[in-house]
Amino acid sequence: MEGELAQMGKYIGAGLAAFGLGGAGIGVGNIAGNFLAGALRNPSAAAGQTATLFVGIAFAEALGIFSFLIALLLMFAV
């Protein structure tokens, strides 16, 4: 009984931790959307900024990946 309860808590916690990835999705979409909006206004400057775009996406995504890590830890390590 105790073990089942603990396992249930683990799975609920993992599911809750997965919410964090939604935030990363919003962040990445925000960056890509703003990049596109800027690029359409000034297409000639867009090509030089793709590196910045990817770095920005990577940093935004990193924080979402942390919550993914928490979910994985709860599922497999705790």
Binding site: F54, A58, I65, L69
Partner: protein
């Protein structure tokens, strides 16, 4: 996971990431040849073959294999020069090695029945820690104790500088963690998603949809494999710029 098979409908999306010894036995020591070792070796051999066989003839009008090798070389060279500046070009061989190894591991992992070495945090954390330690040591060698000035944001008002310094220090030490988990997490999640969707094919009604979905996801994973290799490399360049460039912020 899922030790107790409840019904006939079972999906084991994480089974593909199990490290197994190649030549029998269950015990895994540091010298055991496992499927990770095998696929890393295949990646290294493939890279060597691509670069050496491709550039063997060194024709003025490049053949197909030669232009692939030249394209990748030029792509990474331009990236290093653009992001880290002229000073960073010295470290171009290391960046190219990282890029090719990650790219080939990602792409080879997409072959059916292959093993994705970069989906393991144990593999990626080594790559990320080497970058982190290398950049830190290089920064101290180049700038001496002045490298710590990176944490002291001189463009901010004096009152909030100590707070910013704490945040900067934390974000500096989180770098190897996010650097490695981004790569491993993306690949692991992508491959697990393909497996989960493919598992739905056991429901006969769903199988035509599943075939389409798996094909689409496979295309997406090809993109992810290339983008993640690119992201890992460009972040390496960004970190390198902190060490070799001016300590400005």
């Amino acid at each position: 996971m899922a030790e107790e098979g409840a019904s006939g409908f079972q999906i084991h999306p994480m089974d593909q990431f199990i490290v197994k010894p190649l030549f029998g036995g269950d015990h895994i020591a540091w010298y055991t040849v496992t499927n990770v070792t095998l696929w890393m070796a295949i990646a290294v051999v493939a890279i060597a073959a691509m670069l050496m066989l491709g550039t063997r003839r060194r024709a003025i009008v490049p053949s197909r294999s030669q232009s692939v090798a030249e394209l990748i070389y030029g792509f990474v060279y331009n990236m290093v020069e653009e992001v880290t500046g002229r000073e960073g070009v010295k470290y171009f061989p290391y960046v190219l090695t990282l890029f090719l190894f990650i790219l080939f591991s990602n792409l080879l992992g997409l072959l059916p029945a292959a093993f994705t070495t970069t989906s393991h945090i144990a593999v990626t954390i080594v790559l990320a820690m080497l970058v982190f330690l290398g950049v830190t040591i290089l920064g101290f060698v180049k700038h001496g104790i002045g490298f710590l000035g990176m944490f002291w944001v001189s463009s901010a008002p004096l009152v909030i500088r100590p707070i910013l310094a704490v945040i900067e220090v934390i974000s500096y030490f989180v770098r190897p963690v996010s650097h490695s988990i981004r790569l491993a997490g993306n690949l692991m999640a992508g491959h697990a998603v393909i497996k989960v969707i493919a598992g739905f094919a056991t429901l006969v009604v769903a199988s035509p949809v599943v075939i389409g979905a798996v094909t689409a996801l496979y295309g997406l994973e090809l993109l992810v494999a290339c983008v993640q290799a690119y992201v890992f490399t460009i972040l390496t360049c960004v970190y390198l710029r902190d060490a070799v460039g001016d300590v400005h912020h």
